[in-house]
Amino acid sequence: MSAGIDLENVCCDFGSFRAVDNANVSVRPGEFFSFLGPSGCGKTTILRMVSGFIEPTQGVIRIGGQDVKGKRPNQRPTALIFQNLALFPLMPIWENITFGLEVRGVDKATRRKKAEELLTLVDLPGAGDKMVSQLSGGQKQRVAIARALAVEPQVMLLDEPLSALDLKLRQHMRAELRAIQKRTGVTFIYITHDQGEALAMSDRVGVMSQGRIQQIADPRDIYNNPVNGFVAAFVGENNVFSGEVQNPAGGMAAFATPHGTFRARLGASAGGKGVKLYVRPEHTRLSQTRADENSIPVTISEVSFEGNFISILAISETGAKLAAEIRNDGQATVPGMGAKMFMSFDAERAAILPDANVRG
């Protein structure tokens, strides 16, 4: 069983501070949905509103189509996995996992059996009699997931559950979480400030900034077609140029910058002022000769070899720092330090975007 979640014009105020501003999201049943955003943007607040620890100041939250206003966390079909897991240290693992069943009055023998099933599901068979303190970080993680799954929630809410783990384990647990989600078919709402995590795991991603949802799309769209400057800059790297839009036509426009005038794709609602041009480093090329369009003369100032690609920092004639990337296909020529070259990019791969959607 899994349920969809709808947030309609949801706001949350702490005193005079608005932590979540007019959020509208529809998470589909069985979907893996991530909220991605920098620290303090209101991700946890959204999750706490869905799980029932905070009531929204305005707006409606529906779980499986039903308005959950006024329902306490213990009356909602959601299970929250806390940022610090919040396992119960005084209970053995099996009691931790079946705590939700214990409060529902399930007898002990059934609970023991259920605990063993869930431990097998999360790949920890036989750990039931250990104490929490005897487990490693990744194992605790899995116990937390098993504990949440035990109550057969229709929605799992995960608040940066992997942030405390080291890189290797994090990558392993990503795959594991995704597999568990597919196996159980439960709707997952996942919170993270790690863009790699959000892009790799999710069916769809909602990018947030300062309490507002900036864009909701599948991971590819988020990366390839960001709707505004915040999303473009937060998800992946970008070279940013300030300037002015000139003669927009057919989704393209000229963009006058101190480095010259470039042709680029015109993003939605980017007609007026306060817009910038965004070009990803991996969409740039470096060449000895000037290209036909969108070409900037630069001096190479730093070259760093990253293995699968080569990251290059170049300085333009106006002194701006520009980043470029060359894929290492085994025969790529690496430009020397101090070389004078031209950086160019396709008009299709450069986007003119408004700033973030924020208050004021």
Binding site: N74, L80, A86, F88, L90, V103, R147
Partner: protein, 305 residues
């Protein structure tokens, strides 16, 4: 310490501490302990042939039986054993009531109250402690008086028809006074223990569907157990050993064991028996606390935390 204060000062501090421990704590207690095994004799006979060690002083507690009845069942019991049992019983009652009062307040202070108002709350709880224990006991004596404010208030709101003689109702006055005097000794250890519980655990339990009482029973109380145990030991020992409150707020029918000891010292001038009684109180209370801790599966090391 040696490096910080130099050898001279360190030696002095160590000597002072040793002096304090030895001369002011150990020696007087050992003297009393030794005396408790010797008979009470006229001065000329001290050191004489009758001055021998025995348990006679301790066995005096079994003298002079009285008839008592409980739940319609009457029995005869040595009067001092009776006093002792009641002292233990009412000390336990005080401990339980202190816990019942302190736990909700501790939980409220640790998990619910706005952190900004907490210092004010703590100050309000502390201020009564600055007033001397005697004054506080007398304050209750006034409150509980026949024509005092408590009766006036209860009459005013119509809860009683005639004033009640609170301080003449067995142990009522003593119990009220002891609770008031020692409740903070329960509150602060419990508060510390509850406060150290991660709020996320409470929320996790609620999120998993636990009703509020289950959250307390399975999450908060087990976590707070060491604090509750150390608070209980303190309140129990202090209550059983209190002399001031029972002598001020006691009634004609309430005798506390410390009062019996006091009478041996001051009225009978029999220091030997008084010491024997005092050590009996101390050791039996210790045994009692140890049994209680064993029953509740609390370790001594938990309490020291």
């Amino acid at each position: 310490m040696l490096r910080r204060y130099g050898p001279g000062l360190t030696l002095l501090i160590c000597l002072l501490v040793a002096f304090w421990l030895l001369m002011l704590v150990i020696v007087p207690n050992i003297t009393l302990f030794e005396q408790s095994f010797r008979p009470y004799l006229p001065v000329v006979e001290i050191g004489g042939p009758r001055d021998t060690y025995s348990f006679a002083n301790y066995l005096k507690v079994l003298d002079s039986s009285v008839e008592k009845s409980l739940f319609g069942y009457s029995f005869s019991i040595p009067v001092h054993v009776y006093t002792f049992s009641l002292t233990i019983f009412y000390s336990m009652l005080v401990t339980v009531i202190c816990f019942a009062l302190a736990y909700p307040l501790a939980y409220y202070m640790a998990k619910i109250v706005n952190p900004k108002t907490l210092p004010t709350l703590l100050l309000m709880l502390f201020i009564p402690l600055w007033v001397s224990e005697v004054l506080r006991a007398f304050a209750w004596w006034i409150i509980l008086a026949f024509k005092g404010p408590l009766n006036a208030m209860l009459l005013g709101i119509g809860l009683i028809d005639a004033p009640v003689r609170w301080t003449n109702m067995g142990y009522t006055g003593v119990v009220i006074g002891l609770i008031y005097t020692y409740v903070l000794f329960m509150l602060f250890p419990v508060y510390n223990a509850v406060q150290s519980l991660d709020t996320n655990q409470i929320e996790a339990a609620e999120d998993l569907g636990a009703p509020w009482w289950k959250i307390h029973w399975r999450i908060v109380l087990p976590h707070a157990k060491p604090g509750i145990a150390s608070g209980s030991v303190m309140v129990f020992m202090l209550s059983a050993g209190s002399l001031l409150v029972p002598s001020i707020l006691g009634s004609t029918t309430s005798q506390w064991f410390t009062q019996t000891i006091d009478q041996w010292f001051k009225d009978a001038l029999d220091w030997n028996t008084a010491s024997a009684y005092a050590f009996m109180l101390l050791s039996l209370c210790t045994v009692f606390v140890t049994i209680a801790m064993w029953l509740f599966k609390v370790k001594l090391s938990d309490i020291a935390k």
